[in-house]
């Protein structure tokens, strides 16, 4: 280590001057990231310890906002809903997305048509999706009334009007909207797999499902991670879908954390409480992301 000491300074300067244009060009993006994302986050966390009302003010109350937050039934329900929604939407959109992509990869006819159909819902905003599914799940106009008019007069399917299962009604709409994108990402991943691997597996007589499970999926690790990040960020910030479908109802049965933050910041005019809630959301994400990032990036350097 000591022998390259004298050469270090010029090498460091060279490093700095290399690709200078690219570095200058990226300054605005770096500033945006540091000032807006990092700065805004720190500012929010800082002010969550104050009793700010309509406007931020520096009068510290310690952990009062957090105590109130974790005592609020609405917040507890929100967290519960996010956990259920998050878990199921993660599992189902990955499984359904991958299955669709695998089926699509069998050199079927009209692949483009199917791809367009499956991806189409993604072009709609969550507000439109929510509204459409609110109509479909409405017991007087939607599925329930259609099935009843076919003869099953005691058929009941009204997830949006039942506090116990309302979050699954929202989940259905989210899956309908989101799986198309997952399918496209997975399909791109599958197309990136070399044909020879398939041929080799066939020569060895490995059944197709085993090839997928033990060879193809591990090879698609990068695609899975990208998809996971996209789905996970969509889960944590889910807000407009709930607003369009149930606006938190029946009662407060389908509330989600992002809606709590918005309502308490702008309707209740209690910034402190909203900041505390959004800080908790950040911590939830960090608990998941940090260990993963450590394994993903920390591990690679060592190995």
């Amino acid at each position: 280590m000591t022998y390259d000491g004298p050469r270090r300074t010029p090498a460091g300067l060279n490093q700095l001057l290399r690709n200078l244009n690219a570095k200058i060009a990226s300054i605005p993006m770096i500033l945006t990231a540091v000032v807006i994302f990092l700065g805004g986050t720190l500012w929010t966390v800082f002010y969550s310890f104050t009793n700010s009302k309509l406007l931020p003010r520096l009068s510290f109350v310690g952990l009062d906002q957090y105590e109130r937050l974790w005592a609020a039934p609405r917040w507890l329900i929100s967290i519960q809903n996010l956990a259920v929604y998050g878990l199921f939407s993660l599992i189902f959109s990955l499984v359904i997305g991958f299955l669709l992509a695998a089926l699509m990869d069998q050199k079927i006819r009209f692949e483009n048509t199917f791809r367009t159909i499956f991806l189409y819902p993604f072009a709609l905003s969550f507000i439109v999706t929510g509204l459409v599914w609110q109509w479909i799940l409405n017991p007087e106009f939607g599925i329930q009334s259609v099935v009843r008019s076919l003869g099953w007069s005691s058929f009941t399917f009204d997830p949006l009007y039942n506090s116990d299962i309302v979050i699954y009604g929202i989940l259905i709409a989210a899956l309908w909207q989101g799986t198309g994108l997952v399918m496209c990402l997975m399909l791109a991943g599958l197309r990136g797999i070399d044909e020879d691997i398939w041929k080799a597996a066939r020569v060895d007589g490995i059944p197709m499902w085993k090839t997928y499970l033990f060879i193809i999926i591990p090879m698609m690790r990068a695609v899975f991670i990208t998809t996971l990040v996209i789905i996970a960020s969509g889960i944590v910030k889910v807000y407009d879908l709930v607003v369009a479908q149930t606006s938190g109802g029946p009662g407060i049965a389908s509330e989600v954390p992002a809606k709590y933050v918005y309502d308490y910041m702008f309707q209740a005019q209690n910034l402190g409480q909203g900041f505390a809630a959004s800080t908790m959301m950040l911590i939830t994400v960090a608990i998941i992301i940090v260990p993963w990032a450590y394994l993903e990036f920390g591990g690679r350097k060592r190995g």
């Binding site: 009302k53 309509l54 609020a72 039934p73 609405r74 506090s163 938190g248 109802g249 029946p250 009662g251 407060i252 049965a253 309502d263 308490y264 309707q267 209740a268 005019q269 209690n270 409480q273």
Partner: protein
């Protein structure tokens, strides 16, 4: 229901006192919770415009305007010295209660938006769930106790 309900009845050609009537405090506790809109006029340099502001203000608070507007909307005039001949049954009752001073401030004035929101959350939870009235009462009391 809000004062608009009376306006709707009016529009449907119904008459206060004969077709429908008003029971302040359900006829038991004759108390009204009041609230209203405020108009603010900026101080202007232009004489003409200041005069126009005065005309608008005096028109708004004119007893005749007050009765005509509030009959249409279904609310109460902001002043007690209006022509009772034009007033309907409900308005007369209301004005009587106002004259006695049986008034409590609206919750919009009494509670901060924050406490209001917590109250609304409690209400929507209560009406859509199997929460017992006692529990709801206790939580309502908690919200009011910590209100600011």
């Amino acid at each position: 229901m809000g004062d608009w309900a009376q306006g709707e009845f009016q529009l449907a050609g119904q008459k206060a006192g004969t077709d429908y009537t008003c029971l302040p405090g359900l006829g038991v506790n004759e108390i009204i919770s009041t609230g209203g809109d405020a108009f603010y006029f900026p101080l202007l340099k232009d004489e003409e415009k200041s005069k126009a502001q005065e005309v608008l203000a005096s028109t708004l608070l004119n007893p005749a305007t007050q009765v005509a507007f509030n009959l249409k909307k279904g609310s109460l005039p902001v002043r007690g010295d209006v022509d009772l001949a034009a007033a309907n049954d409900c308005m007369k009752k209301g004005l009587e209660i106002l004259a006695k001073g049986n008034v409590i401030q609206g919750t919009d004035q009494l509670l901060s938006a924050d406490s209001q929101k917590q109250k609304e959350d409690l209400f929507s939870e209560f009406f859509a769930s199997s929460m017992t009235p006692e529990d709801a009462q206790k939580r309502f009391a908690d919200i009011i106790a910590s209100a600011d």
